[in-house]
């Protein structure tokens, strides 16, 4: 199981600068970042090499942070890979609540990070269908 950190931030200049600065100071490496926002505020989701450490670090600064389990699926960086994951989940009636992806090595390997309602169930469905899921440790070594 992999983890991401979610950070509450007001929609105003300097917020991402502050968060990334704190992570830099803590020697944390960011693998992926995604931001969604609504009425003046947003949630920044960050996949890092040391999620627990990053979580404690931001919390200690009083920043509303949440450590969340996510599924990180390894895919080929080729047409149809994302569709294959989506198809399996769809056939099993699993709803994807949030997702983002990033390429590890162009033309070879990509990672899809998904959030679903029932994480363990989705995990076992994906594993049964031959997908490789990454742990925090594996993300760290990517």
């Amino acid at each position: 199981m992999a983890h991401q950190i979610s950070v509450f931030a007001e929609n105003k200049p300097g917020r991402i600068e502050k968060i990334t600065r704190l992570l830099l100071q803590g020697g944390i490496n960011i693998r992926a970042i995604t931001i969604s926002s609504a009425n003046g505020f947003g949630v920044i989701k960050i996949l890092v090499n040391h999620p627990h450490q990053a979580y404690e670090l931001l919390r200690a600064q009083g920043i509303p942070t949440y450590l969340q389990e996510v599924i990180a699926v390894v895919m080929q960086d080729a047409p149809g890979s994302l569709h294959a994951v989506a198809q399996v989940l769809s056939e099993n009636g699993v709803n994807i609540e949030d997702a983002y992806g990033f390429v590890i090595k162009s033309g070879e390997m990509a990672v899809l990070v998904i959030q679903v309602e029932s994480q363990p169930r989705a995990q076992s469905i994906l594993e049964r269908n031959g997908f490789r899921l990454l742990s925090d440790e594996e993300i760290y070594h990517l």
Binding site: S6, A9, P64
Partner: protein, 432 residues
């Protein structure tokens, strides 16, 4: 030019004599209420011992909190069957304050408002559009009956619905209007956006502006926009409502009707009387009301005396524009709001942190109230939708408490500014 000439230009000595007579009756009336009966007994005061304003000053002030504590009937001086109407504070926080009126009280209040309207030139031939809220709020009904008493064609249109307001203004060639000053500015823009010139295409000649503090500049602006005269109106529900004090055609301070009230202006900290020209808190005693007599009521409104005689000939003393409040109440779109009301709502929601701030701004002549709320870190679960639902919940709970829909923004904990470690609850950036 006078509605009741004898009373309006009555020489001061006679006016003071009339005040004494009425004060005496009021004290007897007050002695019938549970609140004042108890107070008099505690202070060993007999009604006969209070004859003059100086005697009255031996009594403590009556506060809004006293009125609340007195809910429902401790300030009622007549049998309930003699009461024909009540008005009440609008907030839902805690206990409301209630003012009861007998038929005669209402008749006197109506006359008081008619006197104000007549003073500024409203006549039987006018079409009077009353753009204030009707209901428990006294602004609507109070002015309505005064205008009817004059014989003006009175349109009880109430507040809001600008398109309809504009249609009535045009169709009935409205000549006089009772309106919030901020709404008057906003409405002028809306009128223009319909391709009309409020000055040329409407027939307004008199506007009565009140229920929220405003500056001389705002008045002049309204006058220019509409090509009408705008007169400042002062009142509060505890003292009936509109008509307590009103500008005369000279537009230099408001005549406070001293045959209806005893007027004091005191230092809000010490309670000591203020000198002429010195800003202090208006303290009023009803002397022409039977059902709910109130002695030395602290209005929390700040103003000063204008002592010089007025060229209009009226002998009732003038007070300045309202300069502010001696408590933390603020007014948004004509609605009175206390920060504590906001606080109660926020502190009842677990996801809300300890700090919040109310920011008041004016955009396009419209009051905007924004409540900035710090979220509680522990209850942040990484979910944007939950935050948005929280924001909507805060907004709707505030709306049902304060009767105004605020903008709500969620902010990070510890980011709201504090002054010397003390949270600054209200930031009013409006220019009056």
């Amino acid at each position: 030019m006078y509605w009741e000439k004898d009373l309006e230009i009555m020489p001061r000595e006679e006016l003071v004599k009339l005040q004494r007579e009425r004060l005496h009756k009021t004290i007897l009336q007050a002695a019938k209420t549970p609140f004042y009966r108890k107070q008099f007994a505690k202070l060993h005061i007999t009604p006969e011992s209070i004859q003059t304003l100086e005697d009255l000053q031996n009594l403590p002030f009556t506060t809004k909190e006293d009125l609340r504590q007195g809910f429902p009937f401790k300030f009622l001086a007549v049998p309930l069957e003699e009461v024909v109407r009540l008005h009440s504070s609008s907030g839902t926080t805690g206990v409301p304050t209630v003012i009861y009126h007998s038929a005669e009280d209402l008749d006197r209040w109506t006359n008081q408002v008619a006197r104000c309207l007549y003073m500024v030139g409203v006549r039987k031939t006018d079409v009077f559009q009353n753009m204030m809220s009707y209901g428990l709020f006294t602004g609507g009904l109070g002015m309505h009956y005064g205008a009817e008493r004059l014989g003006a064609l009175t349109i009880p249109i109430g507040a809001g619905n600008s398109k309809r307001q504009i249609w009535f203004l045009q169709f009935f060639k409205t000549t006089a209007a009772h309106i919030l000053p901020s709404y008057a500015l906003l409405l002028a823009n809306l009128i223009k956006s319909e391709g009309l010139d409020p000055k040329k295409d409407l027939n307004l000649r008199i506007m009565l502006i009140g229920a929220e503090p405003h500056s001389e500049e705002t008045r002049q602006r309204i006058e220019e926009l509409y090509g009408a005269k705008a007169y400042n109106s002062y009142g509060l529900s505890e003292m009936n409502g509109p008509g307590v004090a009103f500008e005369c055609p000279y537009q230099n301070g408001m005549h406070l009707w001293e045959d209806y009230y005893l007027l004091e202006i005191v230092n809000p900290q010490t309670g000591e009387p203020c000198a002429s020209g010195e800003v202090g808190e208006i303290v009023l005693t009803t002397i022409y009301r039977d059902a709910t007599p109130i002695l030395r009521y602290r209005t929390r409104d700040l103003a000063s005396f204008i002592d010089e005689p007025c060229p209009c000939g009226r002998t009732h003393r003038r007070i300045s524009r309202i300069q502010g409040r001696s408590d933390d109440m603020f007014i948004v779109r004509g609605v009175n709001i206390f920060p504590i009301q906001v606080e109660k709502v926020l502190m009842g929601i677990p996801e809300v942190g300890t700090n919040y701030r109310i920011v008041l701004e004016r955009e396009d002549y419209r009051d905007v109230m924004r409540v900035e709320v710090e979220i509680k870190s522990e209850l942040f679960l990484g979910d944007l939708q939950k935050l948005e639902r929280l924001r909507e919940r805060i907004q709707s709970e505030l709306r049902s408490e304060i009767l105004v829909t605020p903008e709500v923004s969620l902010v990070e904990p510890g980011t709201l500014p504090t002054q010397e470690g003390k949270a600054q609850r209200v930031l009013d950036q409006r220019k009056f």
